[in-house]
Symmetry: C2
Subunit: 341 residues, 2 copies
């Protein structure tokens, strides 16, 4: 049933080499012969065997995609959407993605993803924050690697990053333009570069507008930037500061937690407090009110990452190129003009 290159060769009355040359366009073949081969391929519904090609070329045609369990399973499909972007691009590039998750507390003893051990991938995409011990151990395999939304300690990898500073600038300026001056920042896991950049952009925007940065308006002690911690951080913030009129949360998950707190405690959004998030997650539009946020082009990030990794794989040398994907302010109903004073 399944036809091989031999069958095609026989049918087209040529050698298997010629068939190979036609398929890969790797040597000049006369139009006539080429057509004959193509016809045979079609008639036999021939598809080259991936394993044979892999074996002889030393390439697998696979790209590994690694992220932590919690990122994979978190309620908001942030990295999952990025993965889908890589899948889309992989289709047109002819690659397959091997997805695997690792535990966030990955340790020395844990086994590496098997596609690395088995040499089943030509390159690796790593999305989000990931234990450094894993990075080190992977680097020993000398596989082309690109990072998405994370800056590894040894910074000589291709990177796909969100323009976080610009996003924070956009968000904070939006609030400033609405006449807010008591603008709080709620963040978490400040060890993640993305998140610390957002804090940096927030401060920058305030300074640019000559608004003093007040440390009591900055709550960043949450270890993980999710809803629950957003809720808790809001509680901490508002129980000590009654005059806050606007909050910039480092991501939508925390913003949703903040919104919960606000709703539960009699604050009206946006009348009493304006709220801006970051990420533009699907749930935003279902909130009451819909959340103003910074849109991150998630699919595109995946696409860019796959392009980078394919380049690295093909060129053999992995240049530490950095792709900064642009962000965009999405104004919805959680922000309005400051009424105080």
């Amino acid at each position: 049933m399944k036809s091989t290159i031999k069958d095609v060769a026989k049918k087209a009355n040529v050698s298997i080499a010629t068939v190979s040359f036609v398929i890969n366009d790797s040597k000049p073949i006369s139009e006539e012969t080429k057509n004959r081969v193509l016809k045979a391929i079609k008639e036999l519904n021939y598809h080259p065997s991936k394993s044979a090609i892999s074996l002889v070329s030393g390439k697998t045609g696979n790209i590994g995609f690694i992220l932590t369990d919690d990122h994979f399973l978190r309620t908001e499909p942030f990295y999952t959407t990025i993965f889908l972007g890589t899948e889309f691009e992989a289709r047109s590039e002819g690659y397959y993605i091997l997805l695997t998750s690792i535990r966030p507390d990955f340790s020395e003893e844990d086994p590496l993803p098997r596609f690395i051990l088995n040499k089943s991938v030509d390159g690796i995409i790593i999305a989000g924050k990931i234990p450094h011990t894993l990075i080190e151990r992977i680097s020993a395999y000398k596989l082309p690697t690109v990072f998405i939304d994370y800056i590894p300690p040894t910074n000589n990898y291709p990177l796909v990053l969100i323009d976080n500073i610009q996003g924070a600038l956009l968000a904070t300026n939006h609030l400033i333009n609405l006449r807010h001056t008591n603008i709080a920042f709620i963040g978490g896991d400040i060890g993640h570069p993305s998140l610390s950049h957002r804090l940096y952009g927030y401060k920058q925007a305030l300074e640019n507008a000559n608004i003093p940065v007040k440390n009591n308006l900055i709550v960043v002690d949450a270890k993980y930037p999710d809803r629950q911690h957003g809720f808790n951080s809001a509680k901490k913030l508002f129980s000590k500061n009654k005059n806050v009129t606007a909050v910039f949360a480092c991501n939508d998950a925390m913003a949703i937690g903040v919104l919960h707190y606000l709703n539960d405690n009699g604050y009206k959004v946006p009348q009493d407090v304006s709220l801006v998030g970051f990420d533009d997650v699907e749930a935003d539009i279902m909130l009451h009110p819909p959340l103003t946020t910074i849109r991150v082009p998630k699919i595109e990030m995946g696409v860019e990452a796959l392009k980078l990794i394919v380049n690295s794989v093909k060129s053999k040398k992995s240049l530490p190129k950095k792709v900064l994907v642009p962000v965009e302010l999405i104004v919805r109903e959680s922000t309005s003009l400051c009424k105080t004073k």
Copy 2:
């Protein structure tokens, strides 16, 4: 760096055949030799080449996993968690999962997933509702296929299903035990067998308790069972029925929408209305109040599916075995004793 079977053979002073026999345990080898080989393997950090094995065995070692875009990207990681289960099991079975998504409106003209066209998988797992035209076209390839959480029209495939009727029974009985009698059902996409089974179980429970089934308490016209439609359905239900004291929603997503509606409209949960969901999604515990629901063992479903598909692949014949995974009532704070009357 990369060691082959030859390196191992040389190091252990045996032939490559012996190494192969040891690895696959396919021939009796003396303890002594075996240990020597094993030691060499370890020292060289040798891992067999998958492409070579594929080439010689005719198997790819890959399993394709198909689901629709919306299922993949939906806010609650239901199918994503199932996927993770297949991934876990695939690790121990030595398989790789090739994940791909298709559009929910997949049509005749759309190309099939490439891993099918290229014969890059030994079998296929399909999760959730999927267009029938796709199923037909895939079936032409005669690949072992198993369905998760969906019953295809031609029912001779291995299936992994939730015990939906039992779950609905559990949920409704819980409400009945709390003395509720005006129990509403909110559902959607009733074309999906899982969802219609839940409705069936709900009715069954009422009948068993001699509580009349009232059609005006059943709202199932939502085309998709998500939060937004849950919200809308609740609005529809409560604007016409003031005496409803309990709601069983066909899944947590809709339940969350219902909860939103209830909160927004002055109903206290569970004091005024008790609410039960289905799925036990991560977000449940962060709600106010945390949601009583039916737990579905998602990881296990993935594991079971992978076991089934591996069996089919190995035995060559795909027996239409059906695995019903058990569910469990999780009582949290959204349900309480009925106070009316």
